[in-house]
């Protein structure tokens, strides 16, 4: 049985610590906002300069909805779609950084034993730490996506561009896949935390997680597939299965006895 009051106390403590760590706060939260603004700036630039290579792209073959767009608008859509995929990296990277500092940090400072001596279950502690890491990660991802979506209306040279960039497949990925990616990222961080003593080592696992998202990125870029809602749902389903499995493994690693006697 979960004790939400204690979980919320733990989450508040985690966020208070985060707020006090200015360096971590800025280095984690500023780059995603810059990414969103940079993407808008580049899309705006695409609309200003006509690239003759764009005419070579078999746009209609990739996605019939792109037929009939001007070259600049087409460049904006293609670039916008590729860039929008990168937003899926955020829910993996941000929670991974926060969770690694939270768990490995507690391990290094020897604060885990007093915490585990309290009448709180390890499930509650784990859930508190997972939520404290993924909530800011997902919130920031969605905030950046919102800025990107809102800004797209201003920088698009064709009113059809925003609708074509922010397509249903991307929406599904953003709303469904990003929380799952965040969960996977934190579950892996918990497992790695048992073995490492440096938050940066725990963060290396984000490198592994980037692979499936980069496959989506390059797959779209090369025209191998279009991220339609069906592909996005299937991708999310696979992620959900992986997330459940990894979370179960994380709960096995995050046991009072193991933390105190096996974690090194």
């Amino acid at each position: 049985m979960l004790h939400w009051e204690r979980i919320s106390v733990l989450i508040c403590k985690e966020w208070l610590e985060l707020r006090r760590s200015r360096g971590l706060l800025l280095s984690t939260f500023l780059p995603p906002l810059i990414l969103a603004l940079l993407a808008l700036g580049l899309i705006f630039a695409m609309g200003l300069v006509s690239d003759p290579d764009t005419a070579e792209i078999p746009a209609a073959a990739i996605d019939p909805a792109l037929a009939g767009l001007g070259l600049e608008a087409l460049a904006q859509v293609i670039f916008g779609r590729q860039f929008s995929t990168l937003f899926l990296l955020l829910p993996m990277v941000i929670p991974n950084v926060l969770a690694s500092y939270s768990i490995v940090g507690e391990k290094n400072r020897c604060t885990l034993e007093p915490l585990l001596a309290a009448p709180i279950s390890t499930g509650d502690v784990l859930l508190g730490k997972v939520l404290a890491a993924i909530i800011p990660g997902i919130a920031l991802t969605w905030l950046c996506a919102l800025i990107f979506a809102a800004g797209l209306g201003f920088v698009a040279i064709d009113p059809a561009v925003p609708g074509l960039v922010l397509h249903p497949g991307w929406m599904v990925m953003l709303l469904l896949a990003s929380p799952l990616l965040a969960l996977i990222s934190v579950a892996l961080t918990v497992m790695v935390s048992a073995r490492v003593n440096d938050p940066r080592s725990a963060q290396q696992i984000a490198g592994v997680l980037i692979v499936p998202v980069m496959l989506l990125f390059f797959g779209q870029m090369l025209g191998l597939f279009v991220l339609n809602p069906v592909v996005a749902l299937l991708f999310s389903l696979v992620l959900a299965l992986v997330a459940v499995g990894l979370l179960w493994l994380a709960t096995q690693v995050f046991q009072r006895e193991k933390i105190l006697t096996r974690w090194r």
Binding site: E5, R6, V9, L10, K13, L16, E17, R20, S21, R109, C110, T111, L112, E113, P114, L115, L116, A117, A118, P119, I120, S121, R256, E257, L260, T261
Partner: protein, 313 residues
């Protein structure tokens, strides 16, 4: 009522036996000193009694709760000062305490009240809003002790509570421990400071994987050294030792420079005869006093005995 009861409590890590067949009964309101060398299994014992790790075999009840089947209740009924204070450096003293108070189920208002009470008690109130990272070792230790007491637990485990404290702060902590006993709390004190254990503890357990001895400090002394008197002479003591050894009520004599250490069955009854015998032999006695060996002497003797008997380190 007993605060702690263990029956054949054992913990094994793979092939290493950390704690073996520990039988222990500690009455409520006792300060129990748990003494033993480094690596003796003291931390493992405390972790089992705080329901942090499970025993391999045997049973234990703390504050009336079984450590295996009622682990959450045991944790709620115990407070623990771990080897390292384990405080959150970026949080203030007040935030550290209120966080733990809330984890122990206190309401926000109760948490604030208790935190304020202990911050004042340990003279940290003026620094309550400062990040703990800037605190001295002594201040951190006091804050960690306050954290162990916040939820008013009937049983408190303190691991080296005065380590690193200046004499005044150490005295303040010892006074707090005595106050806790007066309030009916049971203190399980793990320490290498034997003078402190001697001053505070009602019951001493000497431990090295197994419980070597369990008794009051006075009984431990009496058991090992009997009742002894120290006779300080004006001249060398060694020539008089054989004479004293021949007295029927003397069980053991040792001489060092001007001092005779004489073990007697009953000093009150035999001291006059001892003095008469020494004076008759021409000794000039400066003074005579009861000899109380330090707890350190008793401890080292017990550990040495255990090594000899078990033949292990």
């Amino acid at each position: 009522m007993n605060a702690i009861e263990c029956h054949r409590l054992t913990r094994q890590f793979d092939r290493l036996v950390a704690v073996a067949d520990l039988d222990l009964v500690i009455p409520a309101g006792t300060i129990f000193g748990f003494l033993g060398p480094n690596g003796a299994g003291k931390t493992t014992t405390v972790r089992m009694l705080c329901a942090l790790i499970a025993p391999s075999s045997g049973t234990a009840r703390v504050a009336g709760f079984d450590v295996q089947t009622q682990a959450a209740a045991v944790r709620a009924a115990t407070g623990i000062l771990t080897e390292t204070p384990g405080l959150y450096d970026t949080l203030s003293a007040l935030e550290n305490l209120t966080f733990f108070a809330r984890l122990y189920g206190l309401s926000a208002m109760q948490a604030a009240e208790r935190a304020a009470h202990y911050l004042r008690l340990f003279e940290l109130w003026e620094r309550r809003h400062d990040p703990v990272g800037g605190f001295s070792k002594g201040m951190r230790q006091k804050l960690a002790i306050a954290r162990a007491l916040l939820h008013d637990p009937p049983v408190v485990f303190l691991d080296e509570p005065t380590a690193g404290l200046d004499p005044a702060a150490a005295r303040a902590v010892r006074d707090v421990i005595k106050t806790l006993r007066a309030g009916g709390r049971t203190i399980f004190l793990t320490t290498h400071n034997l003078a402190e254990a001697d001053e505070l503890c009602d019951l001493i357990g000497v431990f090295r994987t197994r419980l070597i001895s369990l008794d009051t400090p006075a009984n431990l002394r009496a058991r090992l050294f009997g009742q002894s008197v120290r006779v300080v002479l004006a001249g060398p003591a060694a020539p008089l030792a054989p004479l004293v050894q021949r007295l029927p009520f003397v069980s053991e004599v040792s001489a060092e420079e001007r001092v005779l250490l004489v073990r007697l069955a009953n000093p009150d009854q035999h001291n006059p005869a001892l003095v008469r015998a020494l004076v008759a032999a021409g000794a000039d006695i400066c003074y005579l006093e009861p000899f109380t060996p330090s707890l350190e002497t008793v401890y080292l003797e017990l550990i040495q005995e255990a090594v000899t008997v078990n033949g292990s380190g």
